[in-house]
């Protein structure tokens, strides 16, 4: 089996529009959550979110591209450009033929849907732009990455709600690990911060109206974000042969299904995924120094996640650090695991553990070291990234320092 390493990373999210600035923001514990700016915002009960600000797509894409790229595709391409530039890879010949793109996404082109529903239902128009379908389909981003970078192997999109990116990256890992592809471009994106997207979430009554405070006793719900995270997963020998800079090793993963409830999380399902990822990565519990939590800031997730970590890690649960960076960049739904993997890479490479900001009050049901409010310096050699989705679909990735 091939060892798999990360040789490129890219992002755009509410904190910043590239990786170095995002990591700096995480290290500073900056909050990207603010008042939402969108049409009809006054009709929303929830008016906060982690929106990408100061984003000027017309400076990055031409007119024809803009007519084909929904916001989630734009985010994906920006992140992919950064990741692939960092990797130094140029796809041609055999490398192009065998490499692929697997991205996580949940909602597809929600902005495109929203705008066009508005146009036909509210404005009564009987004609829509010819590219509505190719713009909104949730494989559009993966397809445009394959086209822009000439990547011609296995490419598709994975949808498992809030675990989409982790499932996608696990699948991409598997492709390289098993020798099917020398390089996979992977990660995920989401752009659900439009009127219809927020309105739908509002209905479930799990959104906070003021802040995202994971693990804090006074937490009162999740806050949505948007953006993308994209990585280059590469066969270690391939990367070494060309002298590529290696950011981290992807050591293993596990996926489980709760088979229980469509929205309530399960401790057993989460604990099985965590334990499975350790086994797959051949890690002892004591090896893990940091976990990037799913940590949504909902009452149910955070206590269930802490119980699952305690179950899977036993006594070591009290010695490791676990933080939720959603407190800063919001919950990117199908793209969230990808942006959160950046915090894992920062922990391994820079020895900086991103904090859980907005933490105000200890919760006995979340009695782990959640790195409250301030980043910490620590040497860690192995980390996990948790994602536990609606639908009871869990995916945990394990990364190692190389």
């Amino acid at each position: 089996m091939k060892r798999v390493v990360i040789t490129g990373a890219g992002t755009i999210n509410a904190l910043a529009q590239n990786v170095p600035d995002t990591l700096k923001a995480m290290a500073e514990g900056r909050c990207g959550i603010g008042q939402l700016v969108m049409q009809d915002v006054e009709r929303l009960a929830v008016q906060i979110g982690a929106q990408v600000q100061g984003f000027e797509p017309e400076t990055l894409f031409n007119r024809q591209q803009l007519s084909l790229y929904d916001r989630f595709t734009q985010f994906t391409l920006i992140a992919a450009r950064e990741a692939i530039a960092q990797s130094g890879l140029v796809f041609s010949g055999e490398l192009a033929a065998r490499s692929g793109v697997i991205l996580g996404n949940s909602g597809g082109g929600m902005t495109t849907l929203d705008e066009n529903y508005r146009s036909v239902y509210e404005d009564g128009k009987n004609r829509v732009h010819p590219f509505v379908v190719p713009k909104l389909m949730n494989n559009a981003a993966a397809s445009h990455v394959s086209m822009e970078f000439n990547v011609k192997g296995p490419s598709f999109t994975v949808a498992s709600a809030c675990a989409s990116s982790n499932h996608a990256m696990a699948q991409a890992f598997q492709m390289v690990h098993g020798g099917a592809a020398p390089v996979m471009i992977t990660g995920g994106s989401e752009s659900m911060l439009c009127f219809g997207g927020v309105k739908a979430w509002e209905g479930l009554r799990v959104m906070s109206k003021d802040a995202c405070r994971p693990f804090s006793a006074n937490r009162n719900g999740m806050v949505q974000g948007e953006g993308a995270g994209v990585f280059v997963f590469e066969d270690y020998e391939h990367a070494r042969a060309r002298g590529a800079e290696i950011l981290a090793e992807v050591a293993g993963f596990a996926m489980t299904s709760d088979a229980a409830d469509i929205v309530m999380p399960s401790k057993q399902g989460a604990a099985r995924a965590i334990a499975g990822a350790l086994r797959d990565a051949k890690l002892n519990r004591e090896d893990v120094g940091y976990i990037n939590a799913h940590g949504t800031g909902t009452a149910a997730n955070d206590k269930t996640e802490c119980a699952a970590v305690a179950d899977a890690f036993g006594a070591h649960a009290d010695r490791l650090m676990i933080s939720s960076t959603k407190s800063m960049h919001g919950h990117l739904i199908g793209g969230t695991g990808a942006v959160e993997l950046l915090a894992c890479i920062m922990a391994l490479r820079d020895g900086i553990i991103a904090p859980t900001i907005g933490y105000e009050e200890a919760d006995p049901e979340c009695a782990l070291d959640v790195v409250p409010n301030e980043a910490r310096e620590a040497k860690v050699t192995a980390v996990l990234s948790n994602a536990f989705a609606f639908g009871g679909l869990n995916a945990v990735l394990a990364l190692k320092k190389l």
Partner: protein
């Protein structure tokens, strides 16, 4: 139909029971209504009375809307109707 009868009708439907099986001191839990059923009941009540109920599933106790029994829910709705439509 009185507020009380309408609330009982909505909750009975959610619990798949006859309205006569729902009493004022019933709790949603005793009727077998789970967290999703609760959110759905609140939606149905908002629609039926054209009111907005301040309820966050993460902090049910923090809300002024007391969901502990059918009686407390009915009282809460009556107060909201008075406040929002009065």
């Amino acid at each position: 139909m009185s507020v009380q009868d309408k609330v009982i009708e909505i909750i009975a439907e959610q619990a798949v029971l006859e309205p006569s099986d729902v009493s004022m001191d019933s709790t949603l839990e005793s009727l077998g209504i789970d967290s999703l059923g609760l959110v759905e009941s609140i939606f149905a009540i908002e629609e039926a009375f054209d009111i907005s109920i301040p309820f966050n599933a993460n902090a049910p106790d923090a809300s002024e809307f007391d969901i502990s029994t059918v009686a407390s829910i009915t009282a809460g709705i009556e107060a909201l109707i008075a406040a929002q439509k009065g």
